[in-house]
């Protein structure tokens, strides 16, 4: 596939994403207006003077129509200005910059664990469909889907940190200066985050692969006398790969959702614990900032998945 065509694909997808980005940013912008009362007073904080409130009203244009306000806000956001925290008055972007790496680390780590465990389990269950093994995998997967991740996290801390002392119970280490410590700190949180996704991956991979294995052309291959392994690798899994990438892309959403609670359990200074803390303390600029950054990451990951899918499968590219 040549570079020009790839650029065309990315460009076309970006164009399709534009309305989604507009709506998503509008939803983030509207969060402030969900707060009962005057948004200018909300942003000014609890002990603001009347002049300060008026100043903010003028600055953000709260006396103007909603669309104008949105565009003003968007203009500031595009200039990397997410406002300041109402609690610490630090720039929101700095707060997120300090904390996002920790969230990205545990999420990526969890995704790697989930893929390494969940995909083989799904393949195993699908190839042995209907067997005892399949029933076991399906059963464990339904357990994993219903398991509250923060409870699992607590149990992990109780056993592997406090009892066995294998891993630190709380906190995080910076990956740039102390990579080994960072991985050590992130291991239990990543496992707690991964379990639900392992279950989801195993289920989805199983059903996607079973569909391929029952397809007509697959029976033809068998009739041709191809060995079962060659069939599975060359045809079965290759046909599942596009579905698999899409499923993996969709997990980013779940990872960020799970990270909020998991970061609370392990006292990790991440984006998730920041959004929960800020929501409780009515620090709305920070809440808006974190939500915005996370949704942009999710949209970008899905863009990446779409482009990869197009490279893997020409049917997707020309659709």
């Amino acid at each position: 596939m040549n570079r020009g065509f790839l650029l065309f694909l990315v460009g076309r997808r970006l164009w399709q994403l534009l309305p989604i980005v507009v709506f998503a940013t509008f939803i983030v912008f509207l969060l402030l207006h969900l707060v009962p009362g005057d948004p200018a007073a909300t942003l000014a904080g609890d002990y603001a003077t009347r002049e300060r409130i008026e100043e903010i009203r003028h600055l953000y244009g709260f006396d103007k129509p909603l669309v104008v306000q949105y565009l003003t806000w968007l203009w500031q956001v595009l200039h990397a200005d997410l406002g300041r925290s109402l609690l610490s008055s630090a720039p929101v972007l700095d707060l997120i910059g300090q904390r996002l790496p920790n969230t990205i680390l545990i999420s990526t780590y969890a995704l790697v664990i989930a893929a390494a465990v969940g995909i083989p389990l799904g393949v195993l269950a699908a190839t042995k469909s209907g067997s005892r093994l399949d029933e076991l995998v399906t059963g464990v997967a339904s357990l994993g889907v219903a398991l509250p991740s923060f409870w699992l996290a607590i149990l992990l801390v109780a056993n592997f940190s406090l009892k066995l002392n294998w891993f630190p119970a709380t906190g995080a280490a910076p990956i740039t200066t102390d990579p080994a410590g960072a991985i050590e700190h992130a291991t239990l949180p990543a496992i707690a985050l991964a379990v639900g996704i392992i279950a989801e991956l195993a289920r989805q991979v199983r059903s996607a692969l079973i569909e391929v294995l029952n397809a007509q052309y697959y029976r033809t291959l068998r009739a041709k006398g191809l060995s079962p392994y060659a069939m599975l690798w060359k045809h079965g899994l290759r046909n599942v790969s596009v579905t698999l990438l899409t499923i993996l892309g969709l997990q980013v959403n779940r990872l960020f959702s799970g990270a909020v609670v998991i970061e609370a359990v392990f006292a990790i200074p991440g984006a998730g614990s920041l959004v929960a803390y800020s929501a409780i303390n009515k620090d709305f600029p920070v809440v808006q900032g974190v939500v915005l950054v996370l949704v942009v990451i999710v949209i970008l990951v899905n863009l990446l998945v779409d482009v990869l899918n197009a490279m893997l499968d020409p049917r997707v590219a020309y659709a």
Binding site: P19, I20, V35, P148, I154, V260, V261, V275, S278, V291
Partner: protein, 292 residues
């Protein structure tokens, strides 16, 4: 053998014999229904069933291990853990059903209109739904809860709002399939009105996947409530909630490690029961799925 052939071949049987057949054929559904019935009974009779008040503090008996007076021990304020577990049940059920009801009320009509009207409306609302689905659900629910004001009802309204797009998508897809089906064309040819087609054809066909999805969603809503209460964004103290109990137990994990089991198990079992019921309904309601 398909389910259809099965029913025609089966002779008429009495109620108990049919019940027995059902219990034999789908033990998961039976267990789920039995557990959920028990949970509802416990919720309704919580004042009678709980041995102590869930709020009474006993400073002389803090963090007791389980014994004959306190079957599950006491928490850091000397409150009876079993009583708090029992009082947590109605809160969890209320939360799950509220969130899912909000999702149904918002999602179903929107999906129906999208599928039926089509055109630019479908296009615009479709992009809006795509945007909503791009947000990490719990993160968006936390943000909306923070904006509306912290508390269980607001938290579950937010969760319901975040769930609604999933239902809207399902109902839209179902509506499109039915709208373009031959028999609906035929009905239209016979002069059936739009209202007649919606009520007689689209709603009955769209309702089955919605029922399945709604049941599965109860489990996700329950887990969301537990998470939010754990983060103290949901049920507010001193009221009892399973997620909140886990948060307290976690603070005293080294002194009273036994307390982290019961609330977590309650959440897990309830989520399993909702999921089990949903999966069984999926099989039971889907005429194309083969029964074993």
């Amino acid at each position: 053998m398909t389910a259809v052939a099965d029913t025609t071949a089966r002779p008429r049987r009495g109620f108990f014999s049919r019940l027995w057949r059902f219990m034999r054929s789908d033990p998961r559904a039976v267990l789920s229904i039995a557990y959920l019935t028990l949970l509802v009974v416990v919720s309704v009779f919580a004042p009678v069933l709980s041995p102590y008040s869930p709020l009474d503090q006993d400073v002389a008996n803090l963090l007791l291990p389980p014994d004959w007076n306190h079957w599950l021990g006491t928490d850091d304020l000397g409150r009876d853990v079993l009583s708090r577990l029992i009082w947590g049940a109605p809160n969890s059920l209320y939360a799950s059903f509220l969130a899912v009801a909000v999702a149904v009320v918002l999602g179903v009509p929107v999906g129906l209109i999208m599928g039926f009207v089509g055109g630019w409306f479908d296009e615009v609302v479709g992009r809006f739904i795509d945007a909503l689905l791009s947000f990490p659900p719990i993160v968006l629910a936390i943000a909306v809860t923070g904006a509306l004001g912290i508390g269980l009802t607001n938290a579950m309204l937010s969760v319901g709002f975040v769930f609604a797009p999933f239902l809207a998508r399902i109902v839209r897809a179902q509506t499109l399939t039915v709208k373009n089906a031959l028999y609906v064309d035929a009905a239209r040819g016979f002069g059936a009105s739009t209202a007649h087609i919606i009520v007689k054809h689209i709603v009955p066909n769209a309702i089955q996947p919605v029922i399945v999805q709604v049941t599965l969603m109860l489990a996700i809503a329950l887990l969301a409530e537990a998470s939010l209460s754990f983060l103290s964004l949901g049920v507010q103290p001193p009221a009892a909630s399973w997620g909140g109990m886990l948060a307290r137990a976690y603070n005293y994990i080294e002194i009273a490690p036994a307390q982290m089991y019961a609330p977590g198990l309650a959440i897990l079992l309830t989520a399993l029961a909702f999921n089990g019921l949903g999966e069984s309904l999926r099989v039971a309601l889907d005429p194309t799925m083969k029964r074993r």
